[in-house]
Amino acid sequence: MSQYAMVIDLNRCVGCHACALACRAEWHVPVQPGYRRNWVKRMGPEMTPEGMSYTFYPGLCNHCDHPVCVEVCPADPVDKVFKDFRTGKTKKMTVKATYKEPFTGAVLIDKERCIGCGACVEACPYHARYLDETLDEPKADKCTFCYERISRGEIPACVKTCIADARIFGDLYDSNSRVHKLVHGGAKRLQSKVVQIGPNVYWVGKPKDLNLLFKHYAPRERTWETVDNGIEDLGRRGILKAALRKGTRIKVL
């Protein structure tokens, strides 16, 4: 069993935004509003019960244990055989256009099969996805934990550029990994009473900074429950949305 995870150390982070820019550069993320795989949001200076805080929310997809974005994907499931890039082991799974990769736990998107309906974008309570409408065929996009890179022995682009070494990446189930140690040492993930879907990005920091992070960015809406992915109803959201674009597929119909 393994699950890749990231811990972000707010005590080290200086809020320089290098991570967000390295990601944009690596993956050619367009600059339309809301388009990003990786972000830094600034909070404060603001009073907290633990004192004044001026801190940052360096965020990315949480590659959740129970990815609600995957649940709502309306694409037809197909069988696929996955391969562990470390051991060479294979595994066959039935997956939709977005799925949780079995050997790393990374939540990925099969761009060939994504129909660009945007259901997953709406479902994510962390707003970690965006729909890339600059493409002729719009597709959902988000952080992949740099699967393309890690599977070739590289590290994620944001980790590689982090000037403060504030981002720690590794396998949560490897008890020798720093990620494992930090998570078992009390690193916090962004959850709330109502949203608990097993995110795999964690933060460590002073109580005042975590206080601000949770106050402003812990998800409090079960966003996925209101997503209508149109599976049972032709005339609804997905189609309408698609029809609004210049997509030729609709005209074929």
Partner: protein
């Protein structure tokens, strides 16, 4: 048809249309699926993987981090840190990452331009390089003959400006060299450490050892908001290893958030606090007596003159609590000598007293014995490189002017160049001699130098003004001829050596061919030298002088590249306090600088209060957005997107008293009635009620910078009153005040903290 079936059909159609086998085949046939397929259309690896790599040196700011540029199909796709670099490794900051978008910025100067409208109007004709250079050479020669060599002035900054500086020097003017960097920025700190320690502990670089410090003091330094990768890394490393942090700042900055003790000081009173601490340290025997006896001169003089600065006095002046100030100095004292008293960097704040403030920091560092100690002030380790003879340019026989613009400033020696303010004044008034031609390279003079309105007036008086620019910023807008400069990604520069804690030698080299008609500055300078019939700049191409410079280090471009573009050397940063010798005349640290006394300047720092805001105004303070450099990155596609505009930080109590809400758009008006462009308000308890903060560099006035134009407010266009430092002539930047205009209504800033009688109030001149 059910949605489900529609999807099936549409997915299939889509696949058929795209003629892609991967998803479909694997899905249907159960073949091996890899989410990391190479790009189907090009067969290339995803992202920056598999790119050709060229090592070089970043110039998104002046810090010069070693980089690796990644090129695919002749296109730059990514920039990372050079893994062999001992200072940044694979890392670059947000700006370093965004160099790609400087190279490909659509608003670059693409070919030589000649002004056809009025100056500043922005009407251009495209001309050839030959015409442009002819015109520049003709005017340089003409102005020089008519008004003398000193009538030529050159505003330069950075590596790209160095070659052209040779031309100005050869023509016989001393009005050149790093005007903005020195006279708007590091002048005071450089002079104070030069005089106290004998070397420039803080200029471009800071020779300090934060990574090994057990405590760090920052006075107005915003590490993390101003981002220089190795500097940040050393600071973070120190903190991670447990260093205590004391931050003195009127604003709750990013480092204030990490501080153990934060002192929200009244702006303009830092020296009062520092002198009080010095007195406290002496009185309570907290200083390193042995170190001072062995290595310092002037202790008694210092002791006598700081006696008057008591904690209770400072509490009133600085608007701080006695207890907090005392706790802070006790905390710092506990960790001597492994202590970083950060020297600061940008120090042209108030004109009067700036040298004294940094002198006080230097003294505090010396009293704690931090000089040469782990965690303290470190020594430079010279790195060998040659000086290429073929870069020199023979100076034409020139008469020295009777009065030099440097005359009024006794400590501008040994620094080159003339104070910017004096150049602008001479241009405006013709006194002490006329200045009639400006050349500009690497600096946006209107967004860098106080009172841009005067600068524009001065430009109108010139016979000729030209610049070499990459982007069509304000400088280009106001020039007669604009030369398209090559970016750092398209050119060589001289060999770069770093003499800090981990010394190295590296080289900037072109990653791609120059775009459009851009040319490297070496080529430009060489052509100009020819046209002006100057003797020198004789090397044919950059590689020649670089190889000459490298020879002395036993290297060549080829061998350096084989080694990964960088060579490192062992550093010798520390000294034993028993064998310490600083490079002053006597080899001792000057706690009292007699040279200053010789010029009727205080040998030991004194507190000179900066006038308090006039009624209804708050002091304008400024700093850095971490993703921007000066005013030069605001048009960068990615950086603009990340941080498109600045905000005016207004204290929450002040805001509620005058009815301001977070996010309101307002105009800032300074004490002379100059108004900013619209800017959004950030309401926060993290700033004092007597100050308003904005990030530097926004509010571009050049319509040719399509993204940056009119986004946010420019601090520089609100700085119309300034004073010149009596030591070296730097221009002050924190001597202006603003109030707020919202919906056409003027909102005076209520005075929530009272001003003690020792601090005079700024008098607004009625004109």
């Amino acid at each position: 048809m059910k949605r489900r079936e529609f999807l099936k059909l549409s997915t299939a159609t889509c696949m058929a249309m795209a003629a892609l086998g991967t998803g479909g085949k694997q899905g249907l046939g159960g073949g091996l699926f890899s989410p990391t397929m190479a790009d189907a259309s090009t067969g290339q690896l995803p992202g920056s993987l598999g790119a050709k790599e060229v090592t070089s040196v970043c110039e998104m700011c002046f810090w010069r981090c070693p980089i690796v540029a990644k090129v695919k199909n002749g296109k730059l796709v990514k920039i990372e840190g050079n893994p062999k670099s001992p200072v940044n490794g694979t890392r670059v900051c947000a700006r370093g990452n965004s160099g790609v978008q400087l190279l490909y910025d659509p608003d670059r100067v693409k070919y030589p331009l000649k002004r056809v409208g009025a100056r500043g109007e922005g009407k251009w004709a495209k001309i050839s390089w030959d015409e442009a250079l002819d015109e520049i050479a003709f005017n340089m020669d003409k102005v020089r003959k008519k008004y003398g060599p000193s009538s030529l002035a050159y505003f330069d900054h950075g590596a790209s400006a160095e070659f052209l500086r040779e031309i100005f020097k050869a023509l016989g003017t001393e009005n050149y060299s790093n005007e903005p960097a020195f006279f708007q920025c590091v002048g005071p700190v450089a002079v104070s450490y030069m005089s106290t320690m004998g070397y420039i502990v803080s200029g471009t670089r800071q020779y300090i050892d934060m990574a090994n410090a057990k405590a760090i003091l920052l006075v107005g330094s915003h590490i993390g908001e101003n981002v220089h990768v190795s500097h940040v890394r050393e600071y973070v490393e120190g903190l991670a290893k447990g260093a205590k942090l004391v931050v003195v700042d009127p604003r709750f900055s990013a480092p204030a958030n990490k501080a153990d003790i934060y002192l929200p000081i009244r702006p303009g009173t830092d020296t009062a606090l520092l002198l009080t601490w010095i007195n406290y340290v002496i009185e309570h025997n907290l200083y390193d007596k042995d170190f001072v006896e062995k290595n310092c001169e002037g202790f008694e003089r210092l002791r006598q003159s700081v006696k008057k600065y008591t904690l209770s006095w400072a509490a009133r002046i600085c608007d701080l609590k006695v207890d907090d100030m005392e706790q802070a100095i006790l905390l710092l004292a506990r960790y001597r000598p492994n202590l970083t008293i950060h020297p600061g960097r940008h120090s042209a704040w108030y004109g009067n007293g700036d040298v004294g403030r940094h002198q006080a920091l230097a003294i505090l560092g010396a009293l704690f014995g931090t000089v040469g100690a782990k965690g303290g002030i470190i020594f430079q380790t010279p790195v060998v490189k040659g000086h290429a003879e073929c870069l020199k340019c023979e100076k034409l026989p020139s008469e020295e002017p009777e009065t030099s613009l440097r005359d009024n400033y006794p400590f501008v020696e040994p620094f080159p160049g003339s104070p910017t303010a004096a150049i602008i004044k001479a241009t405006l008034t013709g006194e002490p001699y006329p200045i009639k031609l400006w050349g500009i390279n690497g600096v946006n003079i209107l967004q860098t130098i106080p009172n841009p309105y005067d600068t524009m007036k001065a430009i109108k008086k010139l016979d000729f003004i030209f610049c070499e620019e990459m982007l069509m910023g304000e400088t280009a807008l106001w020039s007669d001829i604009v030369l398209p400069g090559a970016t750092y990604l398209e050119r060589y520069d001289g060999v770069y050596v770093y003499d800090g804690i981990t010394p190295y030698l590296t080289l900037r080299q072109p990653v791609v061919e120059p775009m459009f008609e851009a040319k490297p500055p070496f080529w430009t300078a060489k052509q100009l030298a020819k046209k002006l019939k100057l003797k020198g700049l004789s090397c044919e191409k950059e590689e020649d002088f670089i190889n000459e410079e490298l020879k002395e280090a036993g290297l060549s471009i080829a061998s350096l590249n084989k080694k990964g573009g960088i060579v490192t050397y062992p550093g010798k940063p520390y000294r034993d306090k028993d064998s310490l010798k600083v490079p002053t005349e006597s080899g001792k640290i000057q706690l009292s600088v007699s040279d200053f006394a010789d010029e009727d300047l205080p040998p030991v720092p004194e507190f000179i209060p900066a006038p308090a805001p006039p009624e209804g105004f708050a002091r304008l303070i400024y700093g850095r957005a971490p993703v921007h450099t000066f005013s030069r990155t605001m048009n960068n596609l990615w950086l603009h997107n990340e941080w498109p505009e600045n905000h005016a930080w207004v204290n929450d109590e002040v805001a509620s008293k005058i009815g301001l809400k977070d996010g309101d758009t307002v105009i800032l008006e300074n004490q002379n009635g100059y108004r900013s462009l619209g800017i959004k308000v950030k309401v926060t308890p993290g700033i004092r009620p007597d100050a308003i903060y904005i990030d530097h560099g926004f509010g571009s006035r050049s319509p040719f910078l399509k993204r940056a134009y009119k986004r946010g407010a420019s601090d520089q266009f609100l700085i119309t009153h300034y004073k010149n430092d009596p030591f070296m002539g730097a221009s002050s930047h924190r001597t202006d005040f603003v109030r707020i205009i919202k919906d056409g209504k003027t909102l005076n800033i209520p005075e929530l903290v009272c001003v003690p009688p020792e601090i005079p109030r700024f008098q607004i001149e009625q004109s």
